[in-house]
Structures are given as structure tokens and as C-alpha cells.
């Protein structure tokens, strides 16, 4: 039937169509969040710069390296799964997940520090976006860790492709958030 022809481009996507729908949706949400951040920033550049100076840039820089490395390990896990090396797949997943935990550790230390200073989402528009965007992202890191656990239980090549695609999205979002929120002057 004609349907099979029109569905072909979707069938060529690695993993599962639903994961790609999710990834596109997530990118739309974070993209819209970043656009809104930039738009509001225009109304108060000095206030945003002042608020940004309170952030821990080096910690976030380390976190970037941590997360990208974790993404690399997740990609290796896909390779191992394709080669049928189950034990290696699980070790790579464990390492990727471990780095995810490190990321969260650093992130929550940062949140605790801000909370101790009395900085809350209502303190300044900059912090509304800071907490919303990095908070949503951290929630996705937690979701990624759950996915890694599920992948370790059922390490088929297809599952690995789907899970790793999600983790790369989490990676990508952080790589976009980091310069815009922490570095942009």
C-alpha cells in the first residue's frame, strides 16, 4: 500500500520513532526557554550580568566535560551492544551513569549554595530561568539514569540506540544551556 512509501523516511531513523518525537519536543521546549531568556535579558542586561556573576562558572565547565564524556561512554555502549558484548555494554553504561551522578552531585551542590545565599526563583528573572532551565535539565539527567538502569537489564542493540539517543539529547541541551546561562555577557 501507499503508506509504506510515505513512512519510509521515518523508518530510516535509528531507534524508535517515539524517541525522536520526544527529542524534537524537548528541543522545542528548551529552545523556547532559551529564546525567552535572551528576550527578557534584553530588558535588563546589567541585572542579568550581575546575577550571572553569582554562578559557579568553573563548576559548570567541569560538569560540561563530565556530561560530554558520559555521552561518549553511552555511544561506546551502543557499539558494544551492536557487537554483542553484553558485559562491556553494561560496564560502559555503569560508567556513563556514574558520570551522570557526578554531574548531579555538582549541580545540587550549586543549588544548595544558591539556596544558602537566599537566592530563589523569584529573586530575579535571571534566576527564574536559571532554576527552570537547569532544573528541567537535571530532571532529564535523573530520567536518563533510570533509562540506563533499564538498558542494563535489557541490553539489546535497539534499546541501546533508543536510550543513547535520549542521553545525547540531554548532552546537547546542556551544551546549549551552559554558554547561554553561564558565559554569555
Amino acid at each position: 500500500m501507499t503508506q509504506t512509501q510515505t513512512d519510509q523516511p521515518f523508518d530510516q531513523l535509528p531507534g524508535d520513532l517515539m524517541m525522536w518525537i520526544l527529542i524534537v519536543s524537548e528541543l522545542l521546549v528548551f529552545g523556547a526557554g532559551l529564546l525567552a531568556f535572551m528576550a527578557v535579558r534584553v530588558t535588563d542586561p546589567a541585572g542579568f550580568a550581575l546575577a550571572q556573576d553569582q554562578l559557579h562558572r568553573s563548576a559548570a565547565g567541569i560538569n560540561t566535560v563530565v556530561l560530554v564524556t558520559s555521552g561518549y561512554l553511552a555511544a561506546r555502549a551502543v557499539g558494544y551492544a551492536n557487537a554483542g558484548r553484553i558485559a562491556a555494554t553494561r560496564w560502559a553504561l555503569l560508567a556513563a551513569g556514574g558520570l551522570g551522578m557526578v554531574f548531579l552531585g555538582i549541580k545540587f551542590t550549586e543549588y544548595a549554595e544558591k539556596a544558602a545565599l537566599g537566592i530563589r526563583p523569584e529573586t530575579h528573572p535571571f534566576y527564574t530561568f536559571y532554576y527552570l532551565l537547569t532544573g528541567f535539565h537535571a530532571a532529564h539527567v535523573i530520567a536518563g539514569l533510570v533509562i540506563f538502569a533499564l538498558l542494563a537489564l535489557r541490553p539489546t542493540p535497539r534499546n541501546l540506540q533508543v536510550g543513547a539517543a535520549f542521553w545525547h539529547m540531554v548532552d546537547l541541551v546542556w551544551v546549549l544551556l551552559f554558554p547561554v546561562i553561564y558565559l554569555l555577557r
Partner: protein, 465 residues
């Protein structure tokens, strides 16, 4: 009709249509209150009329969903409904509860009584015994349907429908939370009504639409299911946090402004997907199903839901816009077309599809039904435009220029008069629909020579079951 227990749907649909007639008639009365402010003021104050109008809407739509489930679950699971008695008991409880609510609103006989009296709320206002009855009825329904599905074939359509109906019942539990704080009261109200209409009801809607597309167009189930999953995923992704767009400017924390704006903007996606789905299925479909009225309602549903829920929703969903439009006639415009397009139309679509089968009438009385579609939908679209213009003027005069509320209402009279006219069309359309479903029998339109010739040559023409 393949399964005897599908007959249960008949009674549900009839009760639903009766309440539908009551609901639109009350709407017409309210439309006249907008034209003449003192109309019925001693007999039925506006707030009572509005409670009856909105609550009867919700109840008849739910009855329609229940009827749809009783109709399509046997076909999907390929077995009879678990218990016919329970299904009728459920309906009896719901009808008794509805009568109780109407009596309590209208006569207020049990003021202050914990179980029998009103709760003093603007919305979710049912006496506690009715709320408890709704929960019992929902439990009976879920038990009955779940037992049927568990024992039979599990399809994507029945799974999604069941998921939607389970979540629908669970979310109603928030109706029991009645905080004294007005902002919190509204927050819990949205936990019910938003997560219903912009969350789990969309699952029910998509499942019914998928069932209709499957039957009416004959497209492969595999294709329908893929679309169904995409629609459901995008609906839940955008709809759950989209609740935030109701928390703009009602006293909830400021971060909801961005959560609400961003996620609710994406709520247009599942409605667009539904519209694309319906039209692509019809284009690809190989079946020439004789029930064109059901197809018209299904396509009308997809289009009007996209405009009413999607476009008119987006119109005032960004918090910067909503700061000015909150609670104006813009909201009323959106509310009317969204409920009509998404949930009224899907109910009328499944009723149009199922009733001829349930009544054993074949072929279908198409012309009157299709005329009612155009009359009702035309009226509703016109109403949406008049209310949108009224809302625009109101926003400017009241929120920008700072004029008083009643002073502004005087300026809007012409729009309200036109809205009343469109309301007449909607009520006539609704009555015509009900008449066309229940009364005429065996109106056979014989195909003319050109059509007959086409049908004999068309290899893809399949006579429907």
C-alpha cells in the same frame, strides 16, 4: 452489530443527547441574559444557569465517552462486555446524581449540610453525595471495561482509551479537595478540568477518532496505531505542564508564567497531528463507507478542535497576552469552540456512526444529519467570532483604558445580540441532529446513473459492514 452488549451504548447515547439538548437550551437562556441583564434574575440567577450549562456539558460528554467505550470495546476486544447489569447500574447512578445536582443548584434545600448541601464553590460544585456517587459509578465502569479488555484482544485503541478513562477517573479525586484559599481552590479545579480536557480526554478523543478512521476509511490498523501513539505522546508532553497556563495571574508562583507559556504553546501540536491524521487517512483510505455523516463529523471534529483548542487557545496562552485578556470574552470564545470542536463533535461523530447500527437502520438518514452539522458548526463558528470581537473590545476598554466592567458590557451589547442569534442556530442544529438520529427510518437515497456507474467500476469500493 456484532456483539449484543454493544446495545448498552444505545441508552447512554440517548441520555447524553437529552442532556445535550438541555445544555444548549440553557446556553441560549444565558445568551439572552447577556442581551437583557435582568432576564430570569429572580427565577434563575446567572451563576446557577452557568453552573448548569457547564456541568451538563461535562456530564453529557462523559456519558457519550462511556457509550463510545461500551460500543467500541466489544469490537476491539472481540468479546461481550463483562456485565450488562453493572453498565446499567452505572448509568442509573449517574442519572440520579445529575438530577440531584440540578435540584440542589436550583432549590438549595440543604444549605450547610455536609453531604447534601452545596460546597460554596464556583466550579466543581456538586454536593458530596453526588461526588461520591460519581466515584462509585466510575469504579463500576472501569471494572466493567477493564475486565472486558483483560479477557479479550488488546489493541492500541482499547489500551489508549482505557488509559484515558482510568486517568480521567483518578483525576476527578482532586474534586474532593476544597481549600478555603480561593487561589488554591482554582488550582485544584484546574487539576481536574485542565488535565481532563487538555490531557486525558485527548487520549479518549484520539482513540475514538482512530476507531472511526479505522472503520470509515479502511486504512491498515498498523498505520492508524502509529499516528495514535504520536498524538497521545505529544498531547501528554505538552498538556500536563501546559496546566501552567491556567496559573497565570491567579496567585500561583511566577515561574508558572514561563512553564505555562512554553508548554501550552506546544499543545497545538497534537491537535494539528489529529487534523493531519484524519485527512491523510481519508485520502489514503480505500473504503467507500456509506456513513458519510459520521465521516463529516469526524473530519469536522479534527478541524474545529485544531482551531478552537489549538489556534484560539494559543491566542491568549502567552502570559504577556493573558495579562490583558484573562477572564474576558476571549476566554469564552476559546472555550466554546474548543469544547464544541474537540469533544462535542467527536461524541456526535461516534453517535452518528453507532446509532444506525444500534437501531438496525440501514442505510442512514444522511441529509438531515449533515445539515445539522453545518447549522450547528456554522452557528458555533459565528459565535466564536462574535465573542472574539467582544473580547478584543473588552480587553481594550477594560484592561487598557481602565473603564469599569459594567460600562464596558454596555459597549459589547451588539456582539452579545449577534451571539444570541448564533446560539439559536446552534440549538436548532442540535435539535435537528437529535431528530435525525432518532426519528427518520429507512430514508434510501438511490445513487444516480453517474454515481452507480462509478461504484461499479471502482475496484476499491467496499460496502461497509
Amino acid at each position: 452489530m456484532k456483539y449484543q452488549t454493544q446495545k448498552i451504548a444505545l441508552v447512554y447515547f440517548v441520555v447524553a443527547m437529552a442532556l445535550f439538548a438541555v445544555q444548549v437550551s440553557l446556553g441560549l437562556l444565558m445568551g439572552y441574559v447577556y442581551v437583557d441583564g435582568n432576564f430570569l434574575v429572580d427565577l434563575m440567577p446567572f451563576n446557577i444557569l452557568r453552573m448548569l450549562h457547564t456541568n451538563s456539558l461535562i456530564v453529557w460528554l462523559l456519558l457519550g465517552f462511556f457509550g463510545a467505550a461500551y460500543y467500541l470495546i466489544p469490537e476491539e476486544s472481540e468479546r461481550e462486555i463483562h456485565s450488562t447489569k453493572l453498565a446499567y447500574l452505572q448509568l442509573a447512578i449517574l442519572v440520579l446524581g445529575t438530577a440531584g445536582v440540578v435540584v440542589t443548584y436550583t432549590f438549595n434545600l440543604f444549605e450547610g449540610n455536609f453531604f447534601l448541601g452545596k460546597e460554596g464553590r464556583e466550579f466543581l460544585e456538586q454536593p458530596r453525595w453526588v461526588k461520591a456517587g460519581i466515584v462509585v459509578a466510575a469504579l463500576i465502569f472501569l471494572y466493567n471495561i477493564s475486565m472486558t479488555v483483560l479477557a479479550g484482544k488488546k489493541t492500541a485503541i482499547s489500551n489508549i482509551l482505557l488509559l484515558g478513562l482510568w486517568l480521567l477517573a483518578l483525576l476527578f479525586l482532586f474534586a474532593f479537595v476544597n481549600p478555603a484559599n480561593l487561589a488554591l481552590d482554582k488550582m485544584y479545579w484546574w487539576f481536574v478540568i485542565h488535565l481532563w480536557v487538555e490531557g486525558v480526554w485527548e487520549l479518549v478523543l484520539a482513540a475514538i477518532l482512530a476507531f472511526l478512521m479505522l472503520k470509515l476509511t479502511g486504512v491498515d490498523r498498523e498505520v492508524v496505531e502509529k499516528w495514535l501513539y504520536v498524538i497521545v505522546a505529544t498531547a501528554l508532553f505538552s498538556g500536563i505542564l501546559g496546566t501552567g497556563h491556567h496559573f497565570l495571574w491567579i496567585g500561583t508562583p511566577g515561574y508558572w508564567q514561563w512553564i505555562g507559556s512554553v508548554f501550552s504553546t506546544l499543545e497545538i501540536v497534537p491537535f494539528f497531528a489529529m487534523m493531519a491524521f484524519a485527512f491523510i487517512m481519508v485520502w489514503k483510505g480505500r473504503r467507500d463507507h456509506p456513513n458519510k455523516a459520521a465521516l463529516l463529523w469526524a473530519l469536522g471534529c479534527a478541524v474545529l478542535a485544531f482551531f478552537g483548542a489549538g489556534v484560539w487557545g494559543f491566542l491568549h496562552t502567552l502570559h504577556g497576552v493573558n495579562y490583558y485578556t484573562h477572564g474576558t470574552q476571549i476566554t469564552a470564545a476559546h472555550g466554546h469552540l474548543a469544547f464544541y470542536g474537540a469533544y462535542v463533535c467527536i461524541n456526535l461523530a461516534i453517535i452518528s456512526y453507532a446509532m444506525p447500527v444500534l437501531l438496525g437502520r440501514d442505510p442512514y438518514n444522511q441529509v438531515l444529519n449533515m445539515a445539522s452539522f453545518w447549522l450547528m458548526s456554522g452557528g458555533m463558528v459565528f459565535m466564536t467570532f462574535t465573542l472574539t470581537f467582544a473580547g478584543t473590545v473588552q480587553t481594550h476598554l477594560q484592561r487598557v483604558m481602565g473603564m469599569g466592567f459594567m460600562e464596558v458590557q454596555d459597549q459589547l451589547w451588539i456582539f452579545y445580540a449577534m451571539r444570541f442569534g448564533s446560539g439559536v442556530a446552534v440549538v436548532l442544529g442540535a435539535l435537528l441532529f437529535i431528530y435525525s438520529i432518532l426519528v427518520p427510518r429507512g430514508e434510501i437515497v438511490k445513487p444516480g446513473p453517474v454515481e452507480r456507474d462509478r461504484l461499479t467500476r471502482d475496484a476499491d469500493h467496499v460496502v461497509a459492514e
